[in-house]
Symmetry: C2
Subunit: 161 residues, 2 copies
């Protein structure tokens, strides 16, 4: 007999996979996610990269956006994110910025790689210096460089992200 | 005398910093970005995390979304992204998924850290195994696990991301 927490996890994780499968059926990517707080769904979404089009519209990012809208805050602490697959680096970053408390996933980054997605390549890029990456990164100095941070530090209305 | 390419870079990078400074003046985060193709601006945005609210609405992500909308494609190859600060891991992931060709930035991740942003912490999280991270990550098996990838591989309408 599973514990209550495990049953809750399995229910919402199955829902995330269901969202992914429904999305494939309509031509979308095979990813789904659900954000839950105190046992209630705050937001859910599948991958919408092609439908919008928006390369950032992964299931996790879309669900975070919708959850933030629904609770009217960029701070999602206290929530759990259920996702059909281990988040890619973009989504992992979004999870940190949103302060989600817990992430539960089914398939992992290697499963995604086998299905043709580039998660492994992106994780590698995260550890490379900007000048070593496949995409050309370049730091250029301009006279205005850093003035925005000076403005920020002098601002009386800055908010802690 | 600067080369023409350098002058172009400096013009658009200065614009990215200007967007960041204008945003601070209205209570937003100190970040701005511009996407350029063949010398023309495709999209530009400042950080909109607080304004929306949306924790994923960094300047680079917002600019990528807008550029994808403006050219009606999730593939932004051939474009250059100018950003006031080195992208965080979330934005770096977004850049890879969008296939942007080149990234030019002014301030770097350490400058962002000094201004109170957690970029360094996020870069560290990218190299950690899910179970080692500050945010609790857990893989859970469900009977449906991976069926979405089977559906995807069997689909005749799948698109290469």
């Amino acid at each position: 007999m599973l514990k209550l927490q495990d049953q809750t996890d399995i229910k919402f994780l199955a829902r995330a996979v269901q969202l992914a499968r429904e999305n494939v059926a309509i031509g979308g990517g095979p990813f789904g996610a659900v954000i839950v707080k105190d046992g209630e769904v705050v937001a859910e979404s599948a991958n919408q990269v092609i439908a919008i089009p928006d390369p950032t519209a992964h299931a996790e990012v879309q669900t975070i956006r919708l959850a933030a809208k629904n609770i009217n805050s960029f701070n999602l602490s206290g929530t759990t994110l259920y996702t059909s697959c281990e988040p890619c680096p973009m989504c992992l970053g979004a999870i940190y910025w949103s302060r989600i408390s817990r992430v539960v996933f089914a398939s992992d980054r290697h499963d995604a790689d086998l299905a043709g997605f580039r998660d492994d390549e992106l994780y590698e890029a995260m550890t490379q210096a900007p000048e070593e990456r496949k995409i050309h990164f370049e730091q250029v100095d301009v006279p205005e460089k850093g003035l925005e941070f000076t403005d920020w530090n002098n601002s009386h209305i800055k908010i802690d992200y």
